[in-house]
């Protein structure tokens, strides 16, 4: 495995925490079409770590995320979270899907407290409203709390669904292209907010993205996936100092890392 650290030792970007997620020999074959979506994936996420996955469309990133969140069962292998096997949904996992998926008959704020309402009932959901408003303000939607999702743009809906994920204060965040519908400026802003939230909560994050710059600016490690069968081919450690700032994007070091990952992705045209 190639790491930038080997070439250019920097200060330790992040303290090495205890392992939170442990994934070993994971594989997934979809029964319906006998498609091997994942083959022999091994992965450990440590507490407070931020790991991104990049890879071409259809290489199995969403599949990996769904298995990690306990929403779909693996064909073989093991997925452990906090020492316990993941066999179904867990309250300590926050997941954000590729599509925002807000319920059209609930206002934005009602959508955000929905996880609380489902798990702890209406009274708890009502009690969570002030926090939901804070989260909405954080993502720049405070004027849209009582609007129905039909009136939100795609990017606004994505931001609302981030709030919905954060409302239950999960220890692990699984993010499937959370900002794909945002313009670049908002996206940069949201990324910095995401970094801050993760640091404050010491949350462990796992991000699927198509933006190499986004992966590098946020992550401690970037995994490069290859398709057919889906597998983690390379792992690149990002040794940029923390906290990361947007200006870092313009440094030569940053450019070198992005170019390196791009070369890894390009290899054998996959």
């Amino acid at each position: 495995m190639t790491t930038m650290a080997e070439r250019r030792p920097l200060q330790q970007a992040h303290p090495v925490g205890r392992p939170v997620y442990e994934i070993a020999r994971l594989s997934k074959t979809y029964a319906s079409n006998q498609l091997v979506a994942l083959a022999d994936v091994n992965l450990t996420l440590r507490e407070g770590e931020f790991v991104s996955v990049v890879g071409s469309s259809g290489c199995g990133k969403s599949t990996l995320l769904k298995i990690m969140s306990g929403l779909s069962p693996p064909t073989a292998g093991r997925v452990m979270l906090e020492g316990r096997p993941v066999t179904g949904s867990r309250p300590d996992i926050g997941i954000m899907f590729q599509q925002a998926t807000l319920l059209p008959w609930k206002t934005t704020i009602e959508n955000i407290v929905l996880p609380i309402e489902i798990r702890q009932g209406r009274a708890a959901a009502r009690a969570a409203l002030p926090r939901a408003h804070d989260l909405l303000a954080l993502v720049g939607l405070k004027d849209f709390a009582n609007v129905y999702p039909g009136e939100l743009s795609g990017g606004m809906a994505q931001r609302a669904s981030i709030c919905r994920m954060l409302i239950s204060e999960p220890a692990v965040l699984l993010l499937d292209e959370p900002f794909s519908a945002l313009d670049e400026l908002t996206r940069d802003h949201m990324n910095m907010e995401l970094q801050r939230i993760c640091r404050e909560a010491n949350a462990t994050a796992f991000l699927v993205t198509h933006s190499l710059a986004e992966a590098v600016i946020l992550s401690d490690r970037v995994l490069v996936m290859k398709p057919r069968p889906g597998r983690v081919e390379e792992e690149v450690t990002i040794d940029l100092p923390r906290p990361r700032r947007l200006e870092m994007i313009n440094t030569p070091e940053f450019g070198r890392i992005v170019a390196h990952i791009r070369a890894l992705l390009d290899r054998e045209g996959a």
Partner: protein, 287 residues
């Protein structure tokens, strides 16, 4: 800046409007006017056909004769005479038929749409019964329940149940994979997923089923009254028809259709109220 290939008109100046939306004539006039124009055209044609003597008045009475009977029946209804009690009988039949069809249809629909038993064991039977000509059951209902209102209610409900079953089951399947996954991720129970996700998602489908049922329940009630006698509007129509009183039949059918319209628009009103997030205009009154 300007690329000549994209210029709509060769003589277009900067800032000229070169392409505007064309509004068709029929879109430009208000709806009530469009409807009135069509009404006048049809009645005019009707008047011509009858006054030229092209068809016998027993087959098609003139608009004037029909209007006379319309007024006569209207007076009778307002004065609370026997026609009003007939209309009331039919209204009760339609109401109870609709209520029973909705209750049974919804229950069976949830069974089919939500349980494996319903989908695998129940559904084939329902499909088999649905393909039968349901009016053929009318004599059975009369034999079982007599010539009173009950047998007509049964037939009306029987006809109207199936569209509700199908629509409810289809509605419960309508929630997307992503929405189901969201509820799974939130740790929702099966009941929570049904009540908070699948039923609301399915509401537009269910209302479509209710609209079809509203039409079916009318047809069932009148058919029942044709075949089983009794004191309803259907019996009045049959009686007038047997006396070759065609204008009266026309008038009675018109008043009857008001009852059908009323039921239909109650459903549309409920849909507007309960499915407020579905802003698709076209499905408002028709779909």
């Amino acid at each position: 800046m300007t690329d000549s290939r994209f210029d709509a008109a060769p003589d277009a100046q900067d800032g000229d409007t070169v392409w505007v939306e064309q509004v068709a004539l029929i879109d430009a006039i208000p709806r009530w006017l469009a409807m009135s124009l069509l009404f006048i055209a049809v009645v005019g044609l009707w008047q011509i056909v009858t006054s030229m003597g092209w068809v016998s008045p027993i087959i098609l009475p003139s608009p004037g004769e029909t209007l006379e009977d319309l007024i006569f029946v209207g007076r009778n209804l307002i004065s609370g005479d026997y026609m009003l009690s007939a209309l009331w009988t039919t209204t009760r039949t339609v109401f109870w038929g609709f209520v029973i069809a909705t209750t049974i249809g919804f229950t069976l629909g949830v069974l089919v749409g939500e349980t494996k038993f319903g989908e695998r064991a129940l559904l084939p039977y329902l499909v088999a019964i649905d393909t039968m000509p349901k009016v053929a059951f009318a004599p059975l209902f009369i034999a079982w329940l007599g010539f009173d209102i009950a047998s007509k209610v049964a037939l009306a409900a029987f006809i109207a149940t199936f569209p509700i079953v199908v629509a409810t089951a289809a509605g419960l399947y309508a929630a997307s994979e992503n929405e189901r996954m969201l509820f799974k991720a939130m740790g929702a129970t099966r009941m929570q997923t049904l009540l908070r996700l699948k039923l609301p998602t399915g509401l537009p489908y269910m209302f479509t089923g209710l609209k079809i049922a509203a039409v079916g329940v009318m047809a069932g009630a009148i058919t029942g009254e044709f075949l089983g006698g009794g004191k309803g509007f259907g019996a009045l129509i049959r009686q007038s028809a047997s006396q070759m009183d065609t204008p009266r039949v026309f008038a009675l059918i018109l008043y009857l259709s008001l009852l059908g319209l009323l039921l239909y628009f109650v459903v549309v009103w409920a849909q507007r109220k309960f499915v407020f997030w579905n802003k698709d205009e076209r499905t408002g009154a028709i779909g």
